[in-house]
């Protein structure tokens, strides 16, 4: 299986922050959820991937090519960033005309049909768009130049549940084509739980976990018990721990626990929360 994205030992140093040795890959035809708290380095990773910032070291391949050296690969990469990036005085029609000269594979008819489908008024100025509309316009653009890889940075945050659901439906539809892939960065883990095949979890610039989402969710569980009861659990299977006055709740590797324990299903949010805020004692790498 070809990889849509390959990061090898990617590193970016700032005076106060380091994105450290990121290595993972996204197989073609899959959706990768890129999670982490605000400031974890998600946007920095995306910028380094797209060549918007100079990486300190490491290698980035998008659809098998280094985008820094082979700009042509960006013909097949669609972007939806956290903030809109289109000229505010333009409307969707004039934007489409300008972009038809930027992308060789621009499909005017597809663009018109996406505008219609997303209920974007073609002659309304972009500065008057809501955030949801701006996101849909970005998506319409990304889908109209026959992108094989979509990169979305916090595209769902700030959207109402209906708009978010619409967006996820569109991504799900996009991924039906075998060679299409999606890299979706978000701190709204519920969205990723719905559609992601793989999850990469970033914390303070370091990759905490990368792997299949179902495996991760299947492996982890939430154990609620007293501090005394927890002593019966081998510390290496406790991934994170929160203490409160009624006892403890712990993120655990559920298949390694004694049978008498009842474990609840963990969500991506739990995994993120316990990994970031949880007691590190006895914590092993995910």
């Amino acid at each position: 299986m070809k990889n849509a994205i390959e990061l090898k030992h990617l590193r970016k140093e700032y005076p106060t922050f380091v994105l450290d040795d990121l290595t993972f890959s996204l197989p073609s035809g899959c959706i990768l959820g890129f999670i982490g708290e605000n400031g974890a380095g998600k946007t920095t990773t995306i910028k380094a991937m797209l060549g918007l910032i100079e990486k300190t070291s490491g290698e980035v391949l998008l659809l098998g090519k280094p985008p820094h050296e082979e700009k042509s690969v960006m013909e097949e990469v669609g972007l939806v960033l956290d903030t809109g990036f289109f000229p505010q005085e333009m409307n969707a029609l004039s934007l489409g005309k300008a972009l038809s000269y930027v992308y060789r594979n621009w499909d005017k008819e597809a663009y018109s049909s996406y505008l219609l489908r997303f209920q974007i008024e073609p002659k309304k100025k972009i500065k008057n768009f809501s955030r949801g509309m701006t996101m849909k316009l970005s998506l319409a653009v990304a889908l109209s130049h026959k992108a094989k890889l979509l990169i979305l940075d916090e595209a769902t945050s700030g959207l109402d549940p209906v708009a978010r659901d619409d967006l996820l439906d569109i991504l799900f539809e996009f991924i039906q084509e075998e060679e299409h892939s999606v890299f979706l960065s978000s701190h709204i883990t519920g969205d990723l739980e719905k559609i992601a095949d793989y999850v990469a979890f970033l914390h303070q610039g370091k990759l905490v976990f990368f792997g299949e989402k179902d495996v991760l969710l299947d492996t982890c569980g939430i154990l609620k018990c007293t501090a005394q009861e927890l002593e019966a659990v081998d510390p290496q299977y406790i991934l994170g721990l929160l203490r409160h006055k009624f006892g403890v709740t712990a993120l655990v590797k559920k298949y390694y626990l004694p049978k008498e324990f009842t474990v609840e299903q963990a969500t991506l949010e739990d995994i993120m929360l316990y990994s970031i805020k949880g007691d590190k004692s006895g914590k092993v790498a995910l």
């Binding site: 797209l50 918007l52 700009k71 960006m74 000229p87 930027v102």
Partner: protein, 215 residues
């Protein structure tokens, strides 16, 4: 490249319209002052034409930064070199447009200015752009506005002081213009070469700045 120019023209057309309107206001004002039209009456109108011709190319740089377009275009198949090339093409187009506007003003006022005066306007617009485009790119539109005012203010103060200290006399100024008139080809070629060289150097400097910029 065409797409970038189309976007810039579309995006800055309001400023272009305001610029033309300002030129017209100054033209009407110049025409209504005094009993007859003269180049000195129309001086402010020509000043506005040159100023707006020089500044208008920098608007698009400002808008690109403000709306996040730089992020998008630098992650597109278009190279950064082409992005900057489109800005300089826009600058040249703007310089030509406003020079033609000065020709229009001159014709309207009875053709008092010689043809070479319009070439001087073109040269000044390009010279100003060659400073302002890289400055806007590197330091932003606000700094550029301050610089632009200094570019106008400092020479005026300098000329005023030289004149006051009798280092610059009417005879000297007259002599300088006579020399230019007597050597039109030499002056034209020298000035043209200097402007083109500076414009070219400015382009490569801007490319270098833009290549290293992080978004």
């Amino acid at each position: 490249m065409y797409g970038l120019l189309y976007k810039d023209l579309h995006n800055t057309r309001k400023e272009l319209f305001i610029g033309i309107l300002m030129c017209l206001i100054f033209l009407v004002f110049g025409a209504s002052v005094g009993s007859e039209l003269s180049p000195s009456n129309l001086g402010p109108a020509y000043g506005v034409i040159v100023s707006i011709g020089a500044i208008s190319a920098t608007y698009s740089l400002h808008y690109d930064k403000a709306c996040g377009w730089n992020k998008f275009i630098c992650a597109s198949p278009i190279s950064r070199f082409k992005v900057i090339a489109s800005k300089y093409l826009l600058g040249v187009a703007s310089a030509l447009f406003f020079t033609l506007l000065s020709v229009g003003v001159n014709l309207f006022s009875g053709g008092m200015l010689p043809v070479w005066a319009h070439l001087v306007f073109l040269g000044i617009i390009l010279l100003l752009q060659s400073v302002m485009i890289p400055v806007t790119l590197k330091l932003g539109q606000n700094f550029m506005v301050v610089l632009f005012l200094l570019l106008i203010f400092i020479p005026i103060v300098l000329l005023f002081l030289l004149y006051r200290w009798n280092l610059l006399t009417d005879a000297l100024i007259h002599g300088f213009f006579q020399w230019i008139k007597s050597q039109p080809v030499l002056f034209g070629i020298t000035a043209g070469t200097v402007v083109l060289a500076l414009y070219g150097a400015s382009f490569f400097l801007s490319c270098r700045f833009y290549e290293k910029m992080e978004f």
